[in-house]
Assembly symmetry: C2
Homo-oligomer: 415 residues x 2
């Protein structure tokens, strides 16, 4: 716990000075960080090699080891991401609204940093740099707690970033990595009230659940995406098929990939065989409802669990529904409020779907894969919020800020 | 727990239909509620009498009994508040922003209801009606859990509101009161994930702390106000005194009242005696630092605890500080991030204070008492947020909403 309190104090102190830094100072520091990462790539790779060796010894899965691995090219990409963050407009200091009250008080709603942001994430060293860059750009201090398997990589990255930032006008204490990898320390960070203004968990369902159950500091839930596509009876079939395949197979491991297809019964017997063929050609396993299996007996029987599952894999569940009302009810029961799409040529049904489906992003005639900071035009993001408070959907720079009411008077007292 | 799950399900179901109701339907229902409350005042008073009798038997404090008491005049005022909420503009459905991406996707950020809002509060029956009106106006379902001492009053109010609302187009399940007054039921409501989109505790420090420690649903912290006024050396003394007295004595029991006076040492020996005289004349007990007591030995010695204390009473703590930097450090160490004021004629110091003090509302040359929904021009509010996520400062109708991204495409897939 000592490390938490110490770094909490440091971060809180730094946050006060950070709030008055100019965009220029912050951008220079970000460029310095990007250059330092590229120039000291050997140092990073050598630390990363230790993590990789330990992971291999522990028998970590190939896909996980791949996410952990850093090489010259990946470090260049990460550094390029930092430069991109520097190039984004700085939201801090913006006057969102300003108005004058009848008594002469001038009230301004001003965008200010959040203060201290904590981020708990898995063994992905690129997140260490992304998160530091986004929080620094928005004048926040950060406390990072990455997966223990990446600790050597994270320590090397943090040291390089700190040296570059602190020698370029950023107050000491702005960038913090929790080096104690014990689970209790992560739980301690979730309860660091008085120091942490916002905690963002970035990772799978298990991590999010642990954070929601344990945290006493304010949390933004992110990431779980059990996304649906509803293919309406009145659709352009070619468009429907293109969108479905894109949403399922362009990157099955990400949160905005589709997991369940709902199809209107009026077109199911005609259209499902073609869909099934195309999915199979793309190596996607199909699990379907009873009605699906009447049309295509080869389809595996879906269980109640399937409707709740975010596969993150080449698997899709399929349900034949009796029109848009059943589609909307199914989605509102099983979804994780991430991204949902309808494919239809009927404007009225499109609007009904957009209004009644409860999710951060609702689409008509487009792939769910677009729920992403870059695709929305926000630039880099820290995650996708799936809750309704504070931020919803892709969290870019603006979502890392708060507001403050700044009031100018000339002696007003309240009657 | 059965009552919680049952009402949670009801509220969640109602929330889906509520999101598409017109402002007209909601306003008609609010007017019907206001009329029903006035017409059925006898029924309310008779239920309230039971609560008052029980409270007197238990030896409840006079001030608390007064907050609990309802009479014809108070019910009229409460009903008038509901009419005022009906008259406010409806934020739901507003397109906050809309833009087109290079690939032709049209992305709109649309204001939507939060869904299900839970509110835990003390034995103040007026909050039952306020909270129901504000959440209904913003198309949210609500689950209320008021202090057990007001249970009969709350049940009568809720029954009348439900009958008026449900016979005027509002879906059943929109308005809910938890009738089980056991503490465990309140804790159960704090953990009702999957049903509650936002929980707002309204009450004293004890309630807020219990909610922060126990809640697993998203919470907005409200209300605690350890507010400061810093009187700078370069100030208009008459203005300083007027503002200080207004902030302390116009209503000492509320969260935006001042609790600590900081005064620049350059004017302390001249000005403090006058301030002390004026505070004493207003029956305010003064607790001061060592330096204060050198000037006025009658002042009671303040302890470290005093700097942390929200008295909510005719008591103030006073500290002589060495200029604006010490004032800002003191405030940022001890405040609850509610409302803070500087009294100065020096523009540069004013801006420094406004920038560097961390609080929801920062004032120059005005009373802290203005942090309030009506005073800001928002109309009725559900509370004052003292955290930085989602909402900060007075929470009006807009702060009871979330946003949703609505995306129109014509077949876009992600490259």
């Amino acid at each position: 716990m000592n490390e938490l309190i110490y770094k909490g104090e440091m971060a809180k102190k730094a946050a006060f000075s950070l709030s008055t830094l100019s965009d220029e100072v912050k951008n220079n520091a970000l460029i310095a960080i990007a250059n330092a990462l590229k120039n000291r790539a050997e140092e990073i790779i050598s630390a990363n090699n230790k993590d990789i060796a330990a992971a291999e010894e522990k028998g970590m899965k190939k896909a996980m080891i791949d996410r952990l691995k850093l090489d010259k090219k990946r470090i260049d990409t990460i550094a390029q991401g930092v430069v991109q963050v520097a190039e984004l407009p700085d939201p801090v200091g913006e006057i969102v609204k300003e108005w004058t009250r009848p008594n002469g008080l001038v009230i301004a709603q001003k965008r200010v940093p959040m203060g201290v942001i904590a981020i708990i994430y898995e063994a992905r060293p690129n997140v260490t740099v992304d998160a530091a860059a986004l929080t620094l750009k928005t004048s926040n201090a950060v406390i990072l707690r990455g997966g223990s398997e990446a600790i050597n990589s994270n320590m090397a990255l943090m040291k390089i970033m700190q040296e570059a930032a602190y020698s370029n006008g950023i107050p000491e204490g702005t960038l913090n990595l929790i080096e104690d990898t014990a689970r209790e320390t992560a739980v301690g960070l979730m309860k660091l009230n008085g120091y942490v203004d916002m905690l963002i968990p970035r990772g799978g369902q298990g991590l999010i659940k642990a954070v929601v159950a344990n945290a006493t500091v304010p949390v933004v839930e992110t990431a779980a995406g059990n996304c649906h596509i509803y293919i309406d009876g009145e659709c352009d079939k070619k468009m429907a098929l293109d969108i479905l395949i894109n949403a399922k197979v362009s990157r099955p491991s990400v949160c905005n990939a589709v997991e369940t297809l709902l199809i209107d019964k009026s077109i199911a017997s005609d259209f499902l065989p073609e869909i099934y063929r195309e999915l199979s050609k793309n190596n996607v396993e199909v699990r379907g409802c009873e009605e699906c299996r009447k049309i295509i007996p080869d389809i595996i029987q879906a269980t109640e669990d399937d409707w709740y599952t975010e596969y993150n894999d080449y698997i899709i569940s399929v349900k034949i529904v009796d029109g848009i009302d059943e589609a909307i009810s199914h989605i509102n029961k099983y979804n994780t409020k991430h991204s949902e799409a309808i494919i239809t040529q009927n404007q009225e049904k499109a609007e009904k779907f957009l209004n009644e489906v409860d999710a951060a992003a609702v689409y008509v005639n487009a792939s769910t894969r677009f729920t992403d900071g870059f695709e929305f035009g926000f630039g880099a993001e820290i995650g996708i919020s799936t809750q309704k408070m504070h931020a919803r959907g892709p969290m870019g720079l603006e979502q890392l800020t708060s507001i403050k009411y700044v009031i100018h008077g000339n002696g007003q007292i309240r009657q």
